[in-house]
Structures are given as structure tokens and as C-alpha cells.
Amino acid sequence: MTATGLTLDQMAWRLAQELEPDWVVNVGIGMPLAVVPFVDPAKDIIFHSENGIIGMGPELEGTGVVDNDLLSAGKRPVSLIPGGSFVHHADSFALARGGRLDAAILGAYQVASNGDLANWKLPGARTGSIGGAMDIAIGARRVLAIMTHKTRDGEPKLVERLTYPPTALGVVTKVFTDLGVIAIREGRFILEEVAPGVEVGEVSAATGAELCTEKTCIMSLPR
């Protein structure tokens, strides 16, 4: 059914359009990393990496030498932009919680219509890896979640109430899936854009909560 939806690259491209010039943005590990190459350099986005890099530059590839002192949160070699700087971990998370992140891009297991986010632990699991997700989700002005619309088993990941252990409550502002762009406002999912070739009704059926589709547009993709 979702064969007609967006590819990961298309999802990442669409999310990248959401970032506004000069924003300070934290990018989580996993799917969010796919967004970075699509961000227009002319927007002068300042990327924050939780391990104390303010002004993280693009990933380095194929140089053969790895500088372990300059890795992203996903442990991949990166660069520092001119004017970037380094801080220690308490100062790095002070920035994240303190309101200076315009946006955080996070992966998700589930997102609820009240903005609750689950992305660190599976139900019933003994434990999970939180990393910095709880602090970043609670601190960023906007939390942009990127995930497939449904699980591999076909279960909806956009739900009325989380069944996975929460990461943070009431934080997600927008969700970017293979089927469309869903904003969260006043406790409701609002389908702002639907992927080309996908029916609005198909998105509603794949969503585990009420989906407002009154003002849904068809997403414009490049080319």
C-alpha cells in the first residue's frame, strides 16, 4: 500500500525544506542524518551536535584517516564550519534545553496526536539507549519527527495515545513520513501535505488517530 509513498531521500528532502535560514538545529542519529545532505547551504543552518560541537560541518568521506576527536553523535567523521566552536557536555545540553535550538530532527517509534514522542525503548524491553533524545526533545522549539508512517507489521505509528515508553510529552510539532507531512496542533493530527500518488483516505486509514484533512495539499517534489 505504501509502495506509492515517498522514498527516504524524498522524505529527507521534504524535511530539509522545513528548515529556515540561520536556524540552530540538532540532528539525531539514524534516519534524521539523511536530511543533512538536502539542506541548502545558503540557509546557513548551524548544526549542533550533542557532543559539544556548535557549527558541525558536513560528514567527511573517504579520506582514509579518521579523527576520533571530531565525530558526530552518530560517531561519523565530520568537520567544523568557520566560526564553529566546542563546548563541554553540560554546556552542550544547556544549549539544547535552554531554548536556543530552533529545531530538532528526531527519529520516532511512535508519535501521539498530543505531541508525545516515543523513540528510545521498545515496549517490554529491559532497557534502551536514550542518549540525548529526552533533553533535546524537551528543549528544542520545534521537534520534527521523521519516520515511516507504519511499522513493518503494518501498525500505525501515528497514534492517539502512545503504547511505547515515552521519550518526552507534548513536544512533536510536525511529522514527516513516507505518506505525507502531518502537523500537530491543539492535540490533533493535521495532514498538511500528502505524497504524490497517495490518496488522502489511504493516509487516514494508516493513521491510528483522527486525521484532519480539510486543508491537505499535494506535496510538490523537485523535478
Binding site: P21, D22, V24, D44, I46, H48, I54, G55, L80, I81, P82, G83, G84, S85, F86, V87, A90, F93, A94, L95, A96, R97, G98, G99, R100, I138, G139
Partner: protein, 230 residues
């Protein structure tokens, strides 16, 4: 990264308004953003709450703001220095309010504001007048005061060097409250002694990353470092 707004002191303070809470860096005369303060005076604002270590010495810094009638309340650790004559005059006449905060508690409350925390638990002030009206929390048999985080609408920060991205370094003990105040205000204005090019500041030595800075002025202060003793 786009350059920050470089401006004049007058333009920097344009969006400041009456009744605002304002952080002002400095300890004694070190690290006081005197040109920005002067610009606030000239704007003739009223009802400001000023958070700073001192209540102004002689007729400089915060004493200027007090003199010009801009200030409703001072939050500080050391209000009654010998040279704080303007403050003492107004305070004794009941014309300005005062909240005295232990210096380390003030620093932590500001840092907590910048760090998005609700507050900190400190052993400082337990059993003293400072504890009045504050929640006491016992942990492992030791008492702590719950001290609330503090944020401001505006911060006036004095730096040594600024680059066009807003990155800051300070000079000696003029650092004092400036870096933590820059973290904890909604709009941060910097007065730096000099401006350098992007890349001139060592990324390892930048004390305040430019993401905290909203506007800056590059101007050498007459009354600042290396003045001739009276």
C-alpha cells in the same frame, strides 16, 4: 552561518522596553558594558529590573541607570559598597526595590535559566534570612534551598573580542557574569572592545558561542581596562 547584527549602541537597545528584566555583566568596574548602559539611559526607559553583581559604583554603570530613574528594582549580591552612593540614596528613600542574592546562588540561578532547568538545590543560605519563603529539601541528611532559575528579557554583555558570527572571548576577570548572562536572556546585546574576522578566534578558546548573541557593538570603552589611577 550568517553574520549577527552589527550595530550602534543606540540601535542595539532599540527593542528594549519599560518594565523589562535586564541582566548586566560586570564585577566592580571589570566587564561592565558601559556604552550599552549609556544607550539605555538615553532611551529613558522606566521600571527596569536590573540583575547584576553590584548596584553601581560612583556614577558609572548601573549607577547611571539609577540616576536617570530607569530602575524599579535591583537584584544583586553586593548592594552597599562604599561607592554605591546613588543606590543607597534611592534605596533609603524607598525609591528602588532590592533583592539580595548570594553571589554563587545568583550565578547558579542564571546558569540554570540558561540551561533550561527549573532551579538548583544549594546548601548556601540554609538557616539564614535568605531561606525565607524558600522550599528546603533534605537529601541524605543535608538541607538544601530550592533556588529558582532566573532568566531575563535582555542581557547587556561586555566582551573583549567578537567575530561576525557573534563568538565571544573575554579579558581576564572581566569575564565574570557575562558568559552565563549571555546564555539566559531572550535577547543578548554585546559590547566588545574589538571585532575580529571569522576564524580569528580559536574554536577551542571561544567562551560564548555566537548562537547566544543577537546583536553586537564594537567599541572601546573609555572607562574600562587600563585606566590611569585617580
Amino acid at each position: 552561518m550568517k553574520p549577527k547584527r552589527k550595530t550602534s549602541a543606540q540601535e542595539a537597545v532599540e527593542r528594549m522596553h519599560d518594565d523589562a528584566v535586564v541582566f548586566i555583566g560586570g564585577f566592580g568596574r571589570g566587564g561592565v558594558p558601559e556604552n550599552l548602559i549609556e544607550a539605555v539611559c538615553q532611551k529613558r526607559l522606566r521600571g527596569l529590573t536590573i540583575v547584576s553583581n553590584n548596584a553601581g559604583t560612583s556614577s558609572t554603570g548601573i549607577a547611571r541607570l539609577l540616576e536617570e530613574g530607569c530602575v524599579r528594582k535591583v537584584v544583586c549580591s553586593f548592594p552597599l559598597a562604599k561607592e554605591s552612593v546613588v543606590f543607597k540614596g534611592l534605596y533609603n528613600k524607598g525609591l528602588v526595590d532590592l533583592e539580595v542574592v548570594p553571589q554563587g546562588t545568583m550565578a547558579e540561578r542564571i546558569r540554570a535559566g540558561g540551561a533550561g532547568l527549573g532551579g538548583v538545590l544549594t546548601p548556601t543560605g540554609v538557616g539564614t534570612d535568605i531561606a525565607e519563603g524558600k522550599q528546603v529539601i533534605e537529601l541524605d541528611g543535608r538541607n538544601y534551598l530550592l533556588e529558582r532559575a532566573m532568566r531575563a528579557d535582555f542581557a547587556l554583555v561586555k566582551a573583549h573580542k567578537v567575530d561576525p558570527m557573534g563568538n565571544l572571548v573575554y579579558r581576564k576577570a572581566a569575564r565574570n557574569f557575562n558568559p552565563i548572562m549571555a546564555m539566559a536572556a531572550d535577547w543578548v546585546m554585546v559590547e566588545a572592545t574589538s571585532e575580529v574576522a571569522v576564524g580569528d578566534l580559536d574554536p577551542e578558546a571561544i567562551v560564548t558561542p555566537g548562537v547566544y548573541v543577537d546583536a553586537y557593538v564594537a567599541i572601546a570603552s573609555a572607562g574600562q581596562s587600563m585606566e590611569t589611577a585617580a
